[in-house]
Amino acid sequence: MTVNGQEVTADVEPRTLLVHFLRENLRLTGTHVGCETGYCGACTIHVDGQPVKSCTMLAAQADGASVTTIEGLAQNGELHPVQEGFWERHGLQCGFCTPGMIMSAAALLAENDNPSEDQIRHGIEGNLCRCTGYHNIVRAVEYAGAKVRGEEPPAPDWEGAS
C-alpha cells in the first residue's frame, strides 16, 4: 500500500488491524486508538481519499490502497487548513480525539468547502470528543472552510467578549 505518498510493503498476520500496522510497523503514532467498538473515531484515516476507521479494517484489506494519516496532511511544512483551524480556534483540549477529528473534517471539506453548522456536526458524528463539547471544533472547521475558499475566516467567538 501507499502511506502518505510512500510505497510500503510488509507481510503481516491476517489479524493485524490497519491501525496497529500504521502505529507499530510504520511508527506513525499520530493515529490514535480510543475504543474497541468502532465508535470513537480517534483512528480515522483516509483510504483512497475516504475517511474510515482504521481500527475496524484489517491491514490486509488495505493491500494496494492509498492511505493518508494525520502525518501526511501538512504539505511542505505548511499546516493543512483544518490543522490551522484547530490551532487558531482552540479546537482541542487533551488532543486525544484530534487526529481523527481533523481527518474527518478534512474529508468533509474536500467534498463541501462551505458546510453549514449542521453539516459539520453530521460530518464529525463518527468522532467522539470528551473534552471540548464540540463547540470550538465546529468553529475550527468553519475557519478551515473559509481558508479553503480563500475567504477571511470568521472572527473568534472570544473576540469582543468581556
Binding site: P14, R15, Q50, A60, E125, G126
Partner: protein, 286 residues
C-alpha cells in the same frame, strides 16, 4: 484489541469465494459488524473470506421493474445514489442513517441485511419495500423474500455456504412512495434504532390502495407490522387514518425491553414511528 488468529482469503472471483466457505468460515464485506465482534472475541471464525476484491459486485443496476444492489455497494453509495433516492426512497434514507460517515464508507447494504441486527435500519426498509435477496452457493442460486429472510436476532435465512450476492428492490411506480425514520440510541437519528419504521404505500384515486410497514429496534428482529398496513389500506391516508392504523403497530410484533427502553416506551415509539414513516411515505407518493 486483536481478534483471535484466523486464516484470511481474499479471492478475486465469486466461485473461489464460494469454494472457500466452510463450516467455520465467515464472509466479510465491509467488516463494520464482523470485525468489532471478532475484536471483542465474541466471535472467532477459523477462516475469513473477504469478498471485497471480487469484481462486479459494487454496482446498482436497473433490471425490468427492479433495482439490483450488489453485495459490495456501500451504505454511502446506497444513501447518495439519485436512482435509489427516487425509486426506493425508504432504503436510501435508511442507508443515510446507518452509522456515521466512516461506517457508511465501508459497510455494505447487503452486509447490514445479512447481519440482521435487531436494531439495524436497512432490514426494515427491505421489508417495507418488498425486496428479494439473491443468495448464491456452490450448488446454485436461490431467491429469498425479505419477509422470509430475517429469522431471529443476528440470524438471517442465509446458510453458512451462501453469499448474498445482491438484492432486488421493486422500483416505485407512479403513485408509490416509501420512507424510513427512527429514534437513534445517541439521540436524534444517530446510531442504531431504539425504534425505527419503514413504510411503503401505493396511492390510487386519493386513497391508499396498498401498503407495507416494518419495524426495527423494538423486537428480536426487523418485522412487518401487517395490522398497520391492513388498517390504512382503503383509507384516504389522512393524518387521523394514519394515526389510527399506527396504533396497531405492535399487534404483530413482540416488543422486547432492552438497555435502551422499557416495553412500554418501545410500544409507544413503535406507534409514533410507524405513523411518521407512513405519513412520509404517503407524502412521497404524491
Amino acid at each position: 484489541m486483536y481478534p483471535r488468529e484466523f486464516d484470511y482469503v481474499a479471492p478475486s472471483s465469486l466461485d473461489e469465494a464460494l469454494e472457500a466457505l466452510g463450516d467455520d468460515s465467515k464472509v466479510m464485506a465491509g467488516g463494520m459488524s464482523l470485525l468489532p465482534l471478532m475484536k471483542m472475541r465474541l466471535f472467532s471464525p477459523a477462516v475469513v473470506v473477504d469478498i471485497g476484491r471480487i469484481g462486479g459486485l459494487d454496482t446498482i443496476e436497473e433490471s425490468n421493474g427492479d433495482i439490483v444492489i450488489g453485495a459490495l455497494v456501500r451504505h454511502a453509495t446506497t444513501a447518495t445514489s439519485p436512482l435509489v433516492a427516487q425509486v426506493a426512497t425508504g432504503l436510501a434514507t435508511a442507508a443515510s442513517l446507518t452509522g456515521d460517515v466512516q461506517v457508511r464508507n465501508r459497510g455494505t447494504t447487503c452486509g447490514s441485511l445479512a447481519h440482521a441486527d435487531v436494531a439495524a435500519d436497512q432490514p426494515a426498509a427491505a421489508l417495507a419495500l418488498g425486496a428479494t435477496m439473491v443468495a448464491q452457493s456452490s450448488e446454485g442460486t436461490r431467491e429469498i423474500a425479505a419477509s422470509d429472510f430475517f429469522v431471529d436476532a443476528l440470524t438471517s435465512a442465509l446458510q453458512p455456504n451462501e453469499i448474498l450476492t445482491s438484492i432486488r428492490v421493486p422500483k416505485h411506480q407512479a403513485g408509490e412512495g416509501s420512507a424510513y425514520d427512527k429514534l437513534g440510541r445517541r439521540g436524534g437519528r444517530s446510531d442504531y434504532a431504539i425504534a425505527g419504521a419503514a413504510a411503503w404505500v401505493k396511492m390510487e384515486g386519493g386513497s391508499v390502495a396498498d401498503a407495507r410497514v416494518a419495524l426495527t429496534g423494538v423486537g428480536t428482529k426487523a418485522s412487518l407490522a401487517n395490522a398497520v398496513a391492513d388498517a390504512v389500506i382503503g383509507t384516504d391516508g389522512s393524518e387521523q387514518a394514519v394515526k389510527d392504523a399506527a396504533a396497531r403497530a405492535t399487534e404483530d410484533v413482540t416488543i422486547i425491553e432492552d438497555l435502551y427502553g422499557t416495553e412500554e416506551y418501545k410500544t409507544h415509539l413503535a406507534k409514533v414511528y410507524a405513523a411518521r414513516a407512513l405519513s412520509q411515505a404517503i407524502a412521497n407518493a404524491s
